[in-house]
């Protein structure tokens, strides 16, 4: 363990630590910008400069290893002036107006300018050219605000293995964007929004649809209902200064009522419903594969709750689309039910009900716009707002969030169990499905199982587990003595690897949960910023507490769901659910034409696009 002094304090740094990490262990803060722990440390922005005795120049602390006997100053005039100059230079090129920028509240550049003591920008120069990209449903990009830290590039390439964006051109003309100067909608971007989560400034963000919701709320002909995803309750508080991991379910409900929504529903309800449908689909597939029953789709079955993963599969795994569960995501199930089951109950036509979803996710904005998502006869979900947008909307309405009373969701689409809460965590959908499937098959509760991520997760991960099935009830005798293998993946780079392994036969799980965002939806692209590993851990804990606090913790015990089947749907996988709750997928892949006499077979779905 190297021992060094930082600002005359003796510090024992962990082996292999950088100066930045060593300083943090001693409680000394150094600003950073391009550094993204666990994902990338290019040492590019120079915002973290410190003075090292004996070194000719100031050193970037995020990439300089801590050595024995080093004497470091983070606070000397030279270090402070150096950092301030760097920040001033960044500001001199930055084409942004803080007063109107959607990012101003939590902008890292703004915070760093404050920290570095910038009072005036001494450099006058050309501003970065602005290229606006509004081509996708989920995201907007503005290169004028970009400071070229490349965090987004690192996340998109390394964590999600998409590589939709990269630095283009050179020198002052450098900008981050897709190939061919194309808009984001014309490359393989899956709109997960992870880039927007890590961007320190307002250069990538969600498409703001708050005004569309205000308009609907002010339309007397519309009955506007809202649903909230499981992950919102563990994160929304951060928009109002509450510590990460604060559970704000009750306050969120009262805030939504005060905004004027006619009914507050819970995506948890349809998460329970998803488990009923998807759990039965899994059992049917297992029966087909192991029990000699009629074939019901291939194994492994992949979850289908995450629209970014669905788009990924459509781009990169067109050969495996039949392995995706046909279940719609919970948000789309709830939308379809709000405009059929619920609309009937209150005597309204589907087009007179307006469904708003609050999601942790930018890809959900894309999902609700898919052509397949209109099974109620109208667009099943009209507008998706991210957690961040809801935070802004509540503030706009002048609601003092932290002092709100706790209220509860509306029946019938607001009733839920703990199994639905954990959808927000990576591993949660799997656990919820197993709780129900295991109980259906054996009549006993699922033994405890650890599926949510522990430890660092900024780069995603993969987790495999096996469950021994014994003493089954007679109807499921084909499962007697079987070992069911499941895998949980977060981060699409891991999903890509897992797909390769499955294709090559190196792994053969029965059921796979895939979430695009590291940690699952609690770390979604629409969640409050910053979302660091500590924040993810805190939100995961909060979700687990929420689950534990519920009297009912298995989806099939949700009385609202039971009632729905009795009154409306019939049975899981029945005719009506097939129509309203299930969907299909289509390949988005274009295989490149090989130059003639080409021997290498192109990968079936490499990053290929049609010729222009």
């Amino acid at each position: 363990m190297p021992t060094l002094t930082i600002n005359d304090i003796t510090v024992q740094a962990p082996e292999g630590a950088t100066l930045l990490e060593a300083a943090r262990t001693a409680g000394i803060h150094i600003p950073t910008l391009c550094h993204l722990p666990g994902v990338h440390a290019p040492g590019a922005c120079r915002v973290c400069l410190v003075e090292v005795e004996g070194a000719r120049t100031l050193m970037a602390s995020c990439v300089t290893p801590a050595h024995d006997g080093m004497r470091v100053r983070t606070n000397s005039p030279r270090a402070r002036n150096g950092r301030r100059d760097v920040v001033e230079l960044l500001l001199s090129e930055h084409e942004g107006d803080c007063t109107t920028c959607a990012r101003s509240e939590d902008c890292e550049l703004r915070a760093i300018a404050r920290e570095a003591g910038v009072k005036e920008v001494h450099y006058q120069g050309e501003r970065r050219p602005t290229r606006l990209d509004h081509s996708t449903k989920g995201l907007v990009r503005d290169t004028g605000k970009c400071i070229l830290c490349r965090r987004c590039v690192a996340v998109c390439q390394n964590v999600e293995s998409i590589g939709a964006i990269a630095p283009q051109e050179r020198g002052f003309g450098t900008y981050v964007g897709p190939a061919f100067h194309a808009p984001l909608s014309e490359v393989t971007c899956v709109q997960c929004g992870q880039c927007s989560l890590v961007c320190p400034v307002g250069a990538i963000g969600e498409r703001d649809q708050v005004d569309e919701v205000w308009r609907a709320l002010n339309d007397p002909h519309l009955h506007v209902v809202v649903q909230t995803a499981p992950a919102i309750r563990a994160a929304l508080g951060e928009c109002f200064g509450l510590p990460p991991g604060s559970r704000v379910t009750g306050k969120m409900v009262s805030a939504l009522r005060r905004l004027g929504f006619g009914a507050v529903f819970d995506t948890d309800f349809s998460a329970d419903l998803t488990i009923m449908e998807e759990g039965h689909e899994l059992l049917a597939r297992l029966r087909g594969a192991l029990g000699g029953g009629p074939k019901h789709g291939p194994l492994p079955m992949f979850t289908s709750c995450c629209p970014a993963w669905i788009q990924f599969a459509e781009h990169f795994a067109p050969d495996m689309l039949h392995n995706l569960s046909t279940c719609k995501s919970p948000q789309q199930m709830l939308g379809a039910l709000a405009k059929s089951y619920y609309a009937e109950k209150i005597g309204k036509k589907p087009e007179d009900v307006f469904v708003v979803s609050i999601m942790p996710c930018t890809a959900k904005k894309f999902e609700c716009d898919r052509d397949e998502m209109r099974d109620s006869g109208a667009k099943d979900v009209d507008v998706v707002l991210t957690t961040r947008e809801l935070g802004r909307m509540i503030r706009e309405a002048g609601i003092d969030f932290t002092s709100l009373p706790d209220e509860v969701m509306d029946a019938p689409l607001g009733i839920s169990t703990g199994a639905a809460d954990i959808f927000a965590n990576s591993g949660g959908v799997m656990e919820a499905a197993l709780r129900t499937a295991y109980e259906v098959v054996t009549g006993r509760p699922l033994p405890s199982i650890q599926l949510e991520p522990v430890g660092p997760m900024a780069a995603g991960g993969v987790h495999q587990a096996s469950i021994q099935v014994n003493d089954v009830v007679p109807a499921w005798s084909f499962l007697e003595g079987q070992t069911v293998t499941v895998a949980v993946v977060h981060g699409l780079a891991h999903a890509r690897q897992l797909l390769e392994d499955v294709r090559a036969g190196r792994r053969s799980p029965h059921f796979v949960e895939v979430m695009t965002c590291p940690g699952g939806c609690i770390g979604g692209g629409g969640q409050p910023r910053p979302t660091t590993d500590e924040v993810r851990q805190a939100r995961i804990r909060a979700i687990c507490e929420e689950d534990a606090s519920k009297p009912l913790r298995t989806s099939h015990t949700n009385p609202g769901v039971t009632q729905l089947y009795e009154e409306f749907l019939g049975a899981p996988l029945g005719e009506r659910s097939h129509h309203l709750l299930h969907t299909h997928y289509h390949p988005r892949c274009f295989v490149a034409k090989a130059p003639q006499a080409q021997k290498a077979t192109p990968k079936p779905c490499a990053e290929a696009r049609p010729e222009s």
């Binding site: 390439q157 990269a166 190939a179 061919f180 080409q598 021997k599 290498a600 490499a606 290929a608």
Partner: protein
């Protein structure tokens, strides 16, 4: 198959994913096609497992790579010291205007590509340019425009003749 084509396909075929192969691959693609077409980027991306965005970034970073085919006539305008002093900038402006392209650009009809070069080595003729192997010296903007128009007229005639034959 010409040798360049062999080289390009050979390189793609034996590519083993080693980093640093990207630039040689792009160079041989450019030798083969005269520029780097979109399908080559897509293809190289698939073979090397490098995102298209990264490849495009490399292409736009290095000025040696071209994304459009080369025009039939290559204009090389000298911007060396002597020519610069003698007004190469106004010539460049005139050529850009006449052709409707920026430096390194190719006209829509594919007849001209405009380059600037550091020195053509004929400083006594400043300001000078070369079109293919022909050198033109002591130019004025008007003279430069005239040369371009003459070539264009000839090209148009040729094109018409070909059309009437066909």
């Amino acid at each position: 198959m010409n040798t360049q084509e062999v080289d390009f396909t050979y390189r793609l075929w034996r590519h083993d994913g080693a980093p640093g192969e990207l630039i040689p691959l792009l160079q041989s693609a450019q030798e083969h096609f005269g520029y780097i077409p979109r399908r080559a980027i897509t293809y190289i991306s698939g073979v090397t497992n490098t995102p298209e965005s990264t490849i495009y970034g490399v292409i736009t970073f290095y000025s040696q790579f071209r994304l459009q085919p080369m025009g039939k006539h290559r204009i090389r305008l000298c911007c060396g010291t002597a020519c610069h002093v003698a007004g190469a900038q106004t010539l460049l402006d005139a050529l850009r205007d006449e052709l409707g392209v920026e430096e390194n650009g190719t006209t829509e009809d594919g007849v001209f590509t405009l380059f600037t070069v550091a020195c053509l080595g004929c400083c006594s003729l400043a300001p000078a340019m070369m079109i293919n192997d022909e050198t033109y010296g002591s130019l004025t903007p008007a003279a430069a425009r005239k040369i371009i128009r003459t070539i264009r007229r000839e090209e148009n005639k040729k094109a018409e003749k070909e059309k009437s034959v066909a």
